[in-house]
Subunit: 330 residues, 2 copies
């Protein structure tokens, strides 16, 4: 099943069901007005939403309309918790080698970062870049949305609470990031609003790409200004989603609507398959030549993030947006 | 005006107006069903809520009932953003001296920590301490709730968006905290659910204690197992609330319901006025004698946090709770 949230002037938007081929949409209000409501009442609403999805895919939904991703908000335009992992150790290893960082990780314990979740941006909305001097960057990631998960649940129980899968651009300001990382208290100015792809999908939509190992076996397709930037695959994640969620919930409940991101997708063959963020490419350049030549984000840059199934069909739609100068009152 | 949220089985609870003396309450549903709703529609709902508050204080509200803080949730049982500052530099200075920490702060930039906001606990609810070995601790703090605040607003504009003031116990697990601080990505297992005092109040309820300097001139009264632990005053905060919010919102919007905490209240005369957390007292002991004797939280410990006006009237009610062994399914 595929779900999206369309703009209607409200903070949480309007839930719609989207056809498997992303061409058509159907209002879900008779079952659930918003995705937050759906996640909070999943067992009650899922059968009704699935029935509408079947009608829509069969071309039997009389009130269906064309799905326009430019009218989409992030599937959850806001939620009560967003945690981003750094679950591809390869990325951190490259960064630490290039910049001689001494990140004191504990072996076996994943890096998890508490993040703001009050104001996600729409997948095709112009994104206000506060300053080019902030060394703006992107991070192409996968993410899951979970149902209520009691404190101290096992990785297996946590995995069973995953309801939906998404992609995102985790927008990052590197000028602030190094300062904030050294200080130790996590990210504030380094991580402004994140931007999720237009369509959230149930795990079964991924078929075999929703791996038995609790990882997403899909390429994260990243382009900058229409040019290929990278296509690293999610299968190299160093922890499963269940393991990441279990660590997060060690001593606290996770409430319905919690989003867990993977961190920037990164592969050991990064020099061949490319990266999902500028910082990693710049780090590889620095390791090779002593200098980084790929520039950070410029005003006017257009970025695209997508993932496709074995038949080449886009699964989540695309984060496809431009970075523009910040104007007060935007 | 004083507001509280009573348990009704829902995630956001039921908004009530509380009398100035905290004795009586009145359902607010005719104006706003929840505090989240009220914050999101503040300019529309505030006059109606104030009218009910006036009736209640005058003893003219026929449907008023006794206010029972044990039935209260945190005023916002969940919200979309919680950021905690470490705005009393004195606290960090003591910790850094005692433990020879090298926290790389940038002069003039406050420490702000992104925190989870999906599951705050009620002020009088038993609190499940996952393990005594986690070196459980408390932090007595003040906090504000803000309305929508556009990106890059000035400290003055940010200050004008403050709608309500609260107190909290920012429960902290020191065994995880040192590990996570050294790693650099902020706090996850170090900071389980926070617990807010039962009553959120508009700034005017603080009278002159809501200082023209954007600080709260009130003692944070902390007791452990019925014994005085400390009463540091909020006036020594090194940044105003407006300055903290402006830094937080440098490159992002802050949405209605965002909570900003002060960090543990701490005074330069800590050896006389006491501390609002165990870690600071233990650090002072270590500096004095080379050893810390005050124990971390034990199962069964009872903690109380409160602030009173010049007449001795409790302003926010009390966080008054016990720490109990964690049981699965709690």
């Amino acid at each position: 099943m595929k779900l999206a949230t369309l703009k209607n002037g409200s903070r949480d938007g309007r839930l719609v069901i989207v056809s498997r081929n992303l061409q058509r949409a159907l209002d879900a209000a008779t079952v659930a007005p918003t995705l937050q409501y759906a996640i909070e009442h999943w067992s009650q609403v899922e059968p009704g939403l699935q029935a509408l999805y079947a009608q829509l895919n069969a071309g039997q939904a009389a009130s269906a309309f064309d799905f326009d991703p430019t009218q989409a908000m992030s599937p959850l335009p806001r939620t009560h918790q967003f945690v981003d992992a750094s679950a591809f150790l390869n990325h951190g290893n490259i960064m630490e080698e290039a910049y001689d960082l001494n990140v004191k990780k504990t072996p076996g314990i994943p890096v998890l970062v508490q993040r703001q979740s009050d104001d996600f941006w729409g997948p095709c909305d112009d994104y206000p870049l506060h300053s080019e001097a902030d060394n703006g960057d992107f991070e192409g990631e996968f993410a899951v949305i979970v149902d209520d998960t009691p404190m101290a649940s096992s990785p297996e129980v946590c995995a069973s609470k995953i309801r939906l899968v998404m992609i995102l651009n985790d927008v990052s300001m590197r000028a602030h990031l190094f300062r904030e990382l050294q200080m130790g208290f996590g990210f504030i100015n380094a991580k402004p609003a994140a931007v999720f792809g237009p369509v959230a999908v149930t795990p079964d939509e991924l078929g075999e790409a929703w791996g038995a190992d609790g990882r997403i076996h899909l390429d994260m397709l990243v382009s900058r200004n229409g040019e290929w930037f990278g296509h690293p695959n999610g299968r190299e994640m160093d922890w499963s989603f269940g393991e990441l969620l279990a660590r997060l919930g060690l001593n606290r409940n996770l409430r319905a609507g919690t989003i867990l991101g993977t961190g920037t997708v990164s592969n050991k063959a990064a020099r061949e398959v490319g990266s999902a963020c500028l910082a990693e490419k710049r780090a590889l350049e620095k390791i090779s030549t002593g200098d980084s030549t790929t520039p950070f984000l410029k005003w006017g840059d257009r970025l695209c993030f997508e993932a496709k199934d074995a038949q080449g069909q886009s699964i989540f739609g695309a984060v496809d947006h431009r970075f523009v100068p910040f104007k007060a009152g935007h």
